[in-house]
């Protein structure tokens, strides 16, 4: 095991970790705001990435505009799902399990729709910052990975500022902590729940768009990203979107170090085993109780 190999693994771990973090932050934001575990969070990534691909190749939009369009499509689908399904079921006091099953059903539907309307083939997006690479001590890092890391960190900081500094963010937090109390102070609790789905869709779509130049997007990507995002969110304590960022990074690093330590084919086995062990031993997530308060 050489230094450059370790460095290479660390970079791959951070890159994957940021993607897991973005999907996980979205999942966690939705859980925090609505107590719904969104089993279709990975589909937001697929929707965002596929929309960007279509806008870029079929509609001929410039790349930045196509990226914005892809991210907004995730947000719109998020809003639609809250308004069309979640609101209706919440009014009937549906159980935790039925929300989980609802989102599983939606995930199946969306993945099948991508297969039907777009096809079986994977699609790539051009890397941000061109095809260039950076070489540090023989470790090769694509410029795109650096962009991905920068955007990921930027999005995390923006999310933190959003929750702590803006009226909408504070209202969303209030509505999630004490719905009745928030309603008394004039916060529209139902609308805040819609916003959490918009936020979740936006973050998921962003993760999908950023990962597509590296691994491509196809109709099957969603489930895997949901699982990894879920793991990231649980590691971070589930109710804390910023904890999910830490969780995603941890998961990415554990995975990539497992690749050099054991074998690349056991990547998922290691990631999910770590998840199960952490859930059992540290039910509050790796940040502990303190992590639950933040975000």
């Amino acid at each position: 095991m050489t230094l450059s190999l370790v460095l290479q693994a660390l970079f791959a771990g951070v890159t994957n970790g940021i993607v897991y973090a973005l999907v996980g932050m979205g999942l966690s934001a939705i859980f925090k705001g609505s107590r719904v575990i969104n089993a279709m969070q990975g589909e937001f990534a697929v929707i965002g990435a596929m929309t960007t691909v279509l806008l870029l190749t079929k509609a001929g939009w410039p790349y930045p505009a196509a990226i914005a369009g892809g991210a907004i499509s995730g947000a719109l689908v998020g809003a639609f799902i809250e308004v069309a399904f979640v609101r209706f079921m919440a009014r009937k006091n549906a159980s935790e399990d039925s929300f989980l099953l609802l989102t599983i059903g939606l995930a199946l539907t969306l993945s099948a729709s991508v297969l039907f309307f777009i096809g079986r083939d994977g699609h790539l997006l051009p890397p941000l910052g061109g095809e260039g690479v950076l070489i540090i001590l023989d470790a090769v890092i694509q410029f795109h990975a650096l962009w991905l890391i920068a955007i990921g960190i930027g999005a995390t900081l923006a999310l933190r500022a959003f929750y702590h500094r803006t009226t909408v963010g504070l209202s969303m937090m209030a509505a999630s902590i004490d719905a009745d109390g928030a309603a008394t102070t004039g916060i529209n609790v139902g609308r805040m729940r819609t916003f959490t789905f918009v936020l979740g869709g936006l973050l998921g779509a962003l993760g999908g768009i950023l990962v597509t130049p590296l691994i491509g997007v196809d109709y099957q990507l969603g489930l895997n990203l949901t699982l990894k995002g879920f793991a990231a969110a649980v590691l971070g304590g589930l109710t804390n979107p910023l904890g999910a960022a830490v969780g995603g990074l941890t998961l990415g690093l554990v995975e990539s170090l497992a690749i050099i330590g054991i074998s690349s084919s056991y990547k998922d086995v290691v990631a999910f085993s770590v998840l199960i062990v952490i859930m059992i031993l540290m039910p509050q997530g790796i940040l502990g109780r303190a992590g639950r308060r933040g975000g």
Binding site: D97, I104, L108, S113, F272, I276, M279
Partner: protein, 317 residues
């Protein structure tokens, strides 16, 4: 039992016995799968309906049963019955060893834990190709031979599968009606009160999880002898999800509901596939509609409808 319900039972039995001979071969084949899925779904129904546990790991035990049967018969040349027992023993042991720690989790965390378990198992089935044949799988699994009577056609295998399914239903019914069932109900309705009555919740949940794994493994062995070929594609996380749908769609607390759910997940995709590639979307939408509109499953919704109708007719009469 009233004479009326006995009559219905008799009619049902006759229909059940005649069915495989009058329907086309592919329908008989689907009916075999309905039986296999009923067995697999029963365990998940017990966990979901009586313990409130979402088990997304059933494809793991289904796979263990199928690979045990395939490996014992094809690679080692042992009689089929050995495969059934080896699969069941491995599945139940694994369910016990993993169940003890993992069933301490609750709600979403447990659902995610079982999902992660299914993802791990699916990756291991793929990697351990010396045991499972990987994507190439294991072929040439013999058809079952019952005292010299070869169950080589769907119409023959149908009877064997459904007799196993009925036996499993009887076991499930007994479990629900027994002391264990009472404890389960107490636990589901108020786990704190149940614990105060010195019910060992942990042991109870593990017990049902082990029974669920046993059913999953049996279904897997039945599947292996029906398909003659097993490969990793049959035991993915997607399969675990479709197994979970069986009790959700039919109604988790009702044993006939499991059969309804199994019919739904075997026949609906087949019927919809006539409409072309759009069938997967329609299946997803059908599932969403059931979850949103009929939270107690098809059987629950039917029961409610019937209650409303009888109320109305008695009101008029």
């Amino acid at each position: 039992m009233t004479p009326r319900s006995l009559l219905w039972l008799a009619i049902g039995l006759v229909v059940w016995a005649v069915l495989p001979f009058v329907v086309p071969r592919y329908i008989a084949d689907l009916l075999v799968f309905t039986g296999i899925y009923t067995v697999a779904g029963l365990g998940i129904g017990l966990l979901l309906g009586h313990c409130g546990i979402v088990n997304l790991a059933q494809a793991t035990f289904y796979g263990l049963g199928a690979y045990a049967s395939a490996y014992c018969t094809v690679m080692m040349g042992l009689p089929s019955i050995v495969g059934f027992f080896v699969g069941a023993a491995i599945s139940m042991t694994l369910a016990y060893v993993i169940g003890r720690p993992i069933l301490r989790l609750t709600g979403y965390f447990l659902a995610l834990g079982t999902l992660a378990l299914s993802a791990i198992a699916s990756a291991l089935f793929f990697e351990w190709d010396w045991l499972t044949g990987g994507t190439l799988g294991i072929g040439g699994i013999p058809k079952l031979d019952l005292f010299g009577f070869l169950l080589d056609r769907p119409s023959r295998y149908y009877f064997f599968v459904w007799i196993v399914a009925f036996a499993c239903m009887a076991v499930a019914r007994n479990l629900v009606d027994s002391r264990t069932g009472l404890m389960l109900r107490a636990m589901r309705d108020s786990s704190t009160a149940a614990a105060a009555l010195s019910i060992d919740l942990q042991a109870l949940r593990t017990k049902v999880f082990v029974v669920c794994a046993l059913f999953g493994s049996l279904a897997g062995s039945l599947f292996a002898h029906h398909a003659s070929f097993v490969s990793t594609q049959s035991f993915t996380v997607d399969r675990s999800i479709s197994f979970l749908l069986i009790p959700v769609i039919g109604g988790a607390t009702s044993i006939p509901g499991i059969v309804v759910g199994a019919l739904f997940v075997t026949f609906l995709p087949e019927l919809l596939s006539k409409l072309g590639d759009i069938h997967q979307i329609l299946f997803g939408l059908a599932l969403v509609s059931v979850v949103v509109l009929m939270p107690e499953g098809l059987v629950g919704a039917f029961g409610k409808l019937r209650a409303r109708l009888t109320k109305r007719s008695s009101g008029h009469g």
